[in-house]
């Protein structure tokens, strides 16, 4: 990408260079700090028109009067001015200042950050490399202002929530578009069991040169109907001319779950259970010694599930979380080789990663290789190819809402032993009594069942780039993204209580996604002393086809046979296919006058197979402008202010991620009965269905102080989305629950602040990068629809509130007189005021908004230090002002013995006698005393986390040379080392996978926490 701009610079310089006045000849060479040639540096003689550029060896020739000043500029380097001499050797220093960064804008475009009028956040590959997060989206957490990332759970390879400037859709996807080296890649879940998986895991994050997040409409409009959720452009590393560089990085370490929840031990459980049973017996006037009394029932339960052990030893206790958690082992090796000459350049990489989860049986391994080659075919044609192959093996976990979710073992009785004393096998394993264990013992699934996912992923891209005229290039890219996935599940006979298949059950599924993309575009650049003009015109066509199949078998000869070939009953099978296509034309132009005034305009026409026949094509335009005040006379001499730019943008972008064929009225042939084929009406027609439209305004200030040692950005934006692609609820009496319509409006407004400082620049270096974003989302109109989701349908879309707010009765604590749970009535009085009296009759309490899963503030803070060979980096991220919903587990385990489940320790503070002041109601076995849906289960989910910290030492290069090493760095890094939060359960960064949707956020359902990982690593350059 960078090269393209350089080529155009070269071209335009040649074009304008012919008329130049000439003196004597200067021969020179431009190199970087290491002595490698810098290609395409601009060399200009002060006061003279035009200039020249360095060739592939960094060599240039220019005419200049002796003693004249020559300025050498190259992207990414600090500009240098030297006196003319016959032979010049110019060494340029890398420019580390943020404002000088080159930012990729898509379709061959790139701009210096200084000249950007849209909002694009750039994350350097270097900032995320060798982090123990297997996918690039998770690594973005806290790195870019306004990019909210929630890793959802500690399960490996699972989907991650990413929201750029808030949630801008209700029913359509709110995830950004991911574009890898020009190809929009498949990033949606493809799994058939458990939580969503993350196809971005298939990309090696260490192959990434940079990530550009296109946030505002002016940056995103060139991706038209797909840009409303933001666009993430991922650019992989390329080779460069010079000595071949070999880098080997090895790291290994361990992970532990960040937290455990304190559950009751046997003594505590017994105390609470007996008290609860006594209440229920009293309430129904049952004598305690009646064989059918609640008291006797609980005694039987405790005896039965402990194999009778409890009768002998009432204190013997088991912490069932021991059966869920383990220490995960982490090992990773990366090898990268890059180099080339003036014609051919290459980058290649190899990676192997083995990661053990902190939950038993969870494993991930990735083997991946990449080769990126660029070839200069002749003086007008460049071509290249990128190819990445990867194989991911993931032994996955069931969904959070499955009895076999290992963390659900927390609900098992503390007196229930891990092993069946009669067989020595895990509790509840046949041939022992399979009904022991209050619920299915997840350990049985860990030992006697397996759920694995193998993914083979290919990202490939070829390009041809022709120089047509000076400044004008034409580029064609053909990209493909193949995803092949096989999932296998096998449940041995021992898992019968979970599967109801006494002779074993196997499931095998396949997903094959072929995604082709072509881009063809012209890029034109014209650069003069005062005017700088660039334009892009082109087209994009994408076609994606997904094919799925599955087969289920039961009744296996024995547990030694685990493939469906051996299944006596083929219990089920299916295949299906889905397609989508996009055809788009786009245009973008930038004009800069005198390095002061910048205007930019862009637009895209998008047609898609997803839209209704009455509205197949959409147009998405955007304009932006910038004014670099610091280049004006009245500011250019200011001592402190080194850079100041005002910018503003406005544009329209769309969202078309509503699945395939949402506009059609459909019948589906899956309605067979007892072996006979059947069909059913499955979807209502909408010929007018179209994309969601987001209008976005962004105004911003970029500034630099003290020679740009302090730089920053301030942005304010308003994103208004209308024509929401809404699954509109309709009366179920129609035979359908919803239909897709373009109805409704919502809005996101927010501020973003970025501050980068070089605090100390001497031998001891200290830099700080800080970003913070405040976003307020609000649904402004959904025409009175009520849309709910999440655990207990507690998340709701309601006009005037953010998407997914919790809508529940309001908890009012416990009545000190009788231990009853209380709620505020919140009903409207005749005079319009709200009745704030409390009630113990749940149905008398009106539901109100009691929380919001969307954060008010997200922030990231990185401090980097270096001194001589030492380097250290400390990175915090924070998510503030959001609430989580713990009702998923709370209704069972923080529920005053509503059921027999083991309870959280806080339940011991229950009401016991009149006058007790507590927030925990009286324990009442099988009675619902406070376990109803209320704000009792809506809790603060804010946190600040020490996300990563690393400390390293780089050995002196001179001492290494005798070992033929160029660089040797050893380091220790840690992830999720500290969490500051008030959250009562495992992890505030949570989003139960089985409930996840745009609406259903912030739910916890026995969801595994993030791992705390410590790694030791070594990085060697040859």
């Amino acid at each position: 990408m960078r090269k393209k701009l350089l080529w155009s610079l070269l071209a335009s310089c040649l074009f304008f260079g012919t008329a130049m006045a000439q003196n004597s000849t200067v021969n020179g060479r431009v190199t970087d700090e290491k002595g490698d040639p810098i290609v395409g540096a601009t060399i200009q003689v002060k006061g003279a028109k035009g200039g020249t550029t360095s060739n592939n060896d960094g060599v240039f020739t220019i005419k200049a009067a002796n003693g004249a000043s020559i300025t050498i500029q190259a992207l990414g380097f600090e500009t240098k001015t030297v006196a003319a001499a016959a032979n010049l050797n110019v060494k340029l220093v890398t420019d580390v200042k943020a404002l000088s960064e080159v930012v990729v804008t898509g379709f061959g475009g790139s701009l210096i950050k200084k000249e950007l009028t849209g909002n694009i956040a750039r994350v350097k590959g270097k900032d995320i490399e060798y982090m123990p997060t297997p996918s690039v989206d998770a690594a973005l957490q806290g790195k870019a202002a306004g990019v909210f990332v929630n890793s959802q759970s500690g399960k490996l390879g699972q989907a991650v929530t990413v929201r750029i400037r808030g949630n801008s859709s209700i029913s359509a996807s709110s995830q950004p578009l991911y574009v890898l080296d020009g190809i929009p890649i498949t990033s949606q879940d493809q799994s058939t069991y458990g939580g969503d998986m993350n196809p971005l895991t298939d990309l090696n994050p260490n192959d990434i040169e940079s990530i550009e997040v296109l946030k505002d409409a002016s940056a995103g409009a060139i991706y038209g109907s797909r840009a409303a959720n933001g666009v993430v452009l991922i650019t992989t590393k390329r080779g460069r001319a010079g000595k071949t560089q070999i880098t080997l990085n090895l790291q290994s370490g361990q992970s532990e779950a960040t937290k455990r929840v304190r559950m009751l031990n046997s003594t505590e459980y017994n105390e609470l259970a007996m008290e609860a049973a006594k209440y229920s017996d009293d309430a129904e006037s049952i004598p305690y010694d009646d064989p059918y009394s609640y008291t006797q029932y609980m005694k039987d339960i405790m005896s039965y599930h402990s194999y009778g052990q409890w009768d002998k030893d009432k204190a013997k206790s088991y912490d069932w979380q021991d059966q869920a958690f383990q220490t995960g082992q982490y090992r990773q090796a990366d090898l990268q080789i890059k180099g080339g000459n003036d014609k051919t350049k290459f980058f290649s990489s190899f990676q192997h990663l083995d990661q053990g989860g902190t939950i038993r049986s969870n494993e991930l391994s990735r083997t991946t290789g990449r080769l990126n080659v660029d070839q200069k075919a002749n003086d007008w044609l460049d071509l290249g190819v990128s190819l990445s192959l990867s194989r991911i093996y993931n032994r996955r976990l069931p969904g959070d809402n499955a009895f076999s979710n290992p963390l659900q073992s927390a609900a098992l009785l503390p007196m229930s032993p891990f092993l069946d004393p009669t067989t020595g096998l895990p509790n509840g394993t046949p041939p022992g009594d399979v009904n022991v264990g209050l619920y299915f013992n997840p350990r049985i699934q860990i030992d006697y069942a397996k759920y694995t996912q193998d993914v083979y992923r290919t990202f490939g891209n070829t390009y041809f780039k022709a120089k047509l005229l000076p400044g004008l290039t034409f580029q064609t890219e053909f990209g493909l993204d193949f995803l092949s996935q096989n999932e296998e599940r096998y449940y041995q006979t021992q898992a019968v209580r979970n599967t109801s298949s006494p002779r074993g059950e196997g499931v095998n599924t396949g997903a094959f996604i072929t995604n082709y993309n072509t881009n063809s575009y012209f890029n034109y650049n014209k650069l003069t002393a005062k005017h700088n003009f660039a334009a892009t015109l082109g087209m994009q066509y994408q076609q994606s086809q997904a094919k799925y199949n599955s087969v289920t078998g039961t009744d296996f000869p024995s547990d030694s046979y685990q493939k469906i070939a051996s299944a006596a009953t083929k219990a089920g099978g299916s295949s299906s296919q889905s397609d989508f296509r996009f055809l788009s034309y786009f245009l973008r132009s930038n004009y800069t006058y005198d390095e002061k005034y910048i205007i930019s305009a862009s637009g895209r026409m998008d047609a898609s197979s997803r839209f209704g026949k009455n509205s197949r094509t959409g147009f998405f335009p955007a304009v932006s402008a910038g004014w670099i005040l610091s280049n004006e006379k009245f500011l250019s001499t200011n001592k402190y202010l080194s850079f100041l730019k005002l910018r503003a943008s406005y544009g329209i972008v769309g969202n078309s991620e509503i699945g395939n064929f949402p506009q059609m009225g459909l019948f589906t042939g899956d309605a067979g009965y007892a072996g006979n084929a059947g069909q059913r009406p499955s979807q209502l027609r909408n010929d007018d269905l179209r994309w969601e439209t987001t209008n976005q305004v962004d105004v911003g200030i970029d500034f630099g102080l003290f020679n740009n040692r302090i730089s920053g950005e301030i942005d304010y934006y308003v994103k208004s989305t209308d024509g929401l692609l809404l699954n509109v609820n309709i009366p179920a009496t129609t035979g359908f629950s919803s239909m897709v319509k373009n109805i409704g409006k919502l809005e996101n407004k927010g501020y973003e602040f970025v501050l980068n400082t070089q605090n100390l620049v001497g031998a001891f270096k200290w830099t700080t990068n800080f970003n913070v974003a405040l976003n307020q989302g609000k649904v402004t109109d959904i025409q009175g629809q009520v849309i709910e989701g999440g655990v207990g349908s507690m998340n709701r879309v309601q006009e005037g509130y953010a998407i997914g707010v919790y809508y529940t009765a309001e908890w009012a604590g416990v009545d000190p007189a009788n231990g009853n749970a209380l709620w505020y009535k919140n009903t409207k009085n005749a005079d319009g005021t709200i009745d704030r009296t409390t009630t113990s009759v749940f149905s008398q309490a009106t539901r109100v908004v009691t929380g919001n899963p969307n954060p008010d503030v997200i922030l990231g803070l990185t401090n980097s230090f270096s001194y001589k060979g030492f380097d250290m980096s400390i990175f915090f991220n924070g998510v503030l002002g959001n609430e989580n919903n713990i009702y998923g587990m709370g209704r069972y385990s923080s529920a005053s013995m509503r059921y027999e489940d083991n309870q959280t320790y806080d339940q011991m503070a229950r009401w016991q006698k009149p006058g007790d002041i507590t927030n925990i109601p009286q324990a009442r076995l099988f009675y619902n005393n406070g376990a109803q849906i209320s704000s009792r289960y809506i809790v603060d989910g804010s946190y600040i986390r020490l996300r990563t910290a690393s400390i390293g030492y780089t050995f002196d290069a001179k001492k290494l040379s005798k070992f033929k090493l160029e660089k040797l760095r050893v380091y220790v890094s840690g992830q999720n080392l500290l969490t500051f939060t008030k959250y009562p359960y495992w992890d505030p960064e949570v989003n139960a996978d089985d409930f996840d949707s745009n609406i259903a956020k912030g739910n916890d359902f026995y969801t595994p926490p993030q791992p705390r990982t410590i790694l030791f690593g070594v990085n060697i350059n040859f």
Binding site: Y292, Y297, D300, W380, D433, V434, V436, A466, K467, L468, V496, S520, F522, M539, Y541, Q543, A571, G572, S576, S578, D579, R581, L583, A607, S608, F661, M664, G665, L666, F667, T668, G669, A671, G672, Y673, A674, G678, Q679, R680, P681, S682, Q683, L684, N729, I730, P731, A732, T733, T734, G735, F736, Q785, V786, E788, G792, F842, S843, R891, Y892, F926
Partner: protein, 462 residues
């Protein structure tokens, strides 16, 4: 100039390439689904109508409807007397405690699935003119669709509305009546609740016409006798005893079916019989390894180590009080299994067993009840009918058939099959501590429906 020529060539290549791609692509946007078909092509032939009818059975097979939830709810609601429900599905747990709230998941699930199935039936009924191969075929298709629609409206009005006898059933709100397939959703699709009477009138019309159209035997699908049996229940609810007895009599005399020699034969249909429908079933839902869920087995069943294929969540433990109702020697009293210290009914252990909707033995009891009440002997004496059931259960014959004796046999014979609550309501018997017409024995109109459709009125107490 050579350079110029080369440039021209480069241009040509670029322009040609782009235009070829552009024109080739435009047409490619017309892509059609392959797993589904357009609604405009779905109901054009007889074959299309027949597969839509199968789709209607598939709808009825949903766990939330005749897959078993309807029967489960009709046993569980307020039934602390016979059942100790320890399950964690909140919708059922609250139903069991008669503490349902308007967003009860079972209320919304059963409501939605019933109407989804009704819409499928309405699609079939709208396209009967495509069935042209024979008049018999057309009659059967219409009869089956009407049977399923009528049956589901009957179930809905029983679960979601006040029972007949509680106030004026011609004024009490029943459930919305939808009789045409849904096309473009308009204001007309936002329907108010029809009166209980209007719903019953529709049910009787559907089932009566179904009975007249349906064949006597129809494989695993609805027959004339399925419709007549359902009709006998409808009339019983309406206290039209003569019509109820007459309908039951038509089934007993016309269907050619007879009581199984042993009650065991009516159960374990898959485990022991490989899935053959028991002869006594007048209508049942098939469950196979590939398709369907027996929800009665899900909640009443349990994995018993001695019975291969048995399964279930062990949620419904049968209380001791239930057993006190049986006489000594009643084989039905032994039709329970003790496991882990609790009793479970053996009726629903079979995960892949048929889900019975209505059995022949009920017809004997219905005819007996009608005859006792009207002092008639339509088809047979009530004594003969009640003794037929008693003898089969291994009990001595009675000498006189009182109403109480008939109702007692009915209760025990049909225990845990989904007749408990409707019978209690029509007989105006208390359900546990609750009166027969207690509002919390009626399911709430789902909150979701209330929110979407402002014309709906909520039931009392929600």
């Amino acid at each position: 100039m050579k350079i110029y020529n080369k440039t021209i060539n480069k241009y040509l290549i670029a322009i040609l390439f782009t235009s070829v791609l552009a024109t080739a692509c435009e047409k490619r946007l017309d892509v059609f689904p392959t797993s589904s078909i357009s609604d405009s092509k779905a109901l054009l032939s007889e074959g299309d109508v027949l597969v839509t009818l199968i789709g209607t059975y598939d709808g009825a097979q949903a766990a939330t409807v005749y897959g078993g939830d309807i029967m489960v709810l009709n046993e569980l609601i307020g039934n602390g007397e016979n059942i100790n429900f320890t399950g964690t599905f909140a919708g059922l747990a609250d139903a069991y405690k008669a503490q349902m709230t308007a967003n009860n998941g079972n209320a919304s699930g059963t409501w939605a699935s019933a109407y989804t199935t009704i819409n499928r039936a309405n699609n079939v009924l709208s396209a009967l003119d495509k069935v042209t191969s024979s008049a018999t075929k057309k009659s059967s298709v219409e009869g089956e669709a009407l049977f399923l629609r009528g049956s589901l409206y009957f179930e809905l009005v029983k679960l979601f509305a006040k029972p007949v006898g509680d106030g004026d059933y011609a004024a009490n709100p029943g459930v919305p009546l939808v009789l045409t397939p849904t096309g473009n959703v308009s204001e007309a699709d936002y329907k108010a609740r029809a009166t209980v009477k209007a719903v019953y009138d529709q049910v009787i019309a559907d089932l009566t016409r179904a009975e007249s159209l349906l064949p006597s035997s129809n494989g695993i699908y609805a027959t004339k006798w399925s419709a007549a049996a359902q009709l006998s229940r409808v009339h019983l609810m309406l206290k039209n005893y003569a019509e109820a007895g007459a309908a039951a009599n038509r089934v007993i005399t016309g269907s050619g079916k007879s009581l199984a020699s042993d009650i065991d034969k009516n159960w374990f249909t898959y485990i022991y019989n490989g899935g053959t429908t028991p002869g006594e079933y007048l209508f049942s839902i098939k469950v196979t390894a590939q398709d369907g869920t027996n929800a009665l087995s899900t909640y009443f069943g349990r994995t018993i180590s001695g019975i291969s294929g048995s399964a279930g969540r062990s949620d419904c433990k049968i209380k001791a009080a239930h057993f006190t109702q049986y006489e000594t020697g009643d084989k039905r009293k032994d039709f329970f299994v003790l496991s882990g210290g609790n009793y479970y009914t053996k009726k629903h252990l079979d995960r892949l067993g048929d889900v019975p909707v209505v059995r022949l033995s009920e017809m004997y009891l219905t005819r007996a009840e009608a005859n006792v009440r009207n002092n008639t002997s339509v088809g047979a004496t009530p004594l003969a009918d009640v003794n037929a059931i008693r003898t089969r259960a291994g009990l001595p014959a009675l000498t006189t058939a009182t109403l109480a004796a008939v109702l007692k046999e009915r209760k025990l014979e049909l225990a845990f099959e989904g007749q408990g609550l409707p019978d209690a309501k029509r007989l105006q018997n208390n359900v546990g501590l609750l009166s027969w017409n207690a509002p919390n024995l009626i399911m709430p109109i789902p909150q979701r429906e209330m929110d979407v459709n402002k014309k709906l009125v909520q039931n009392a107490g929600y």
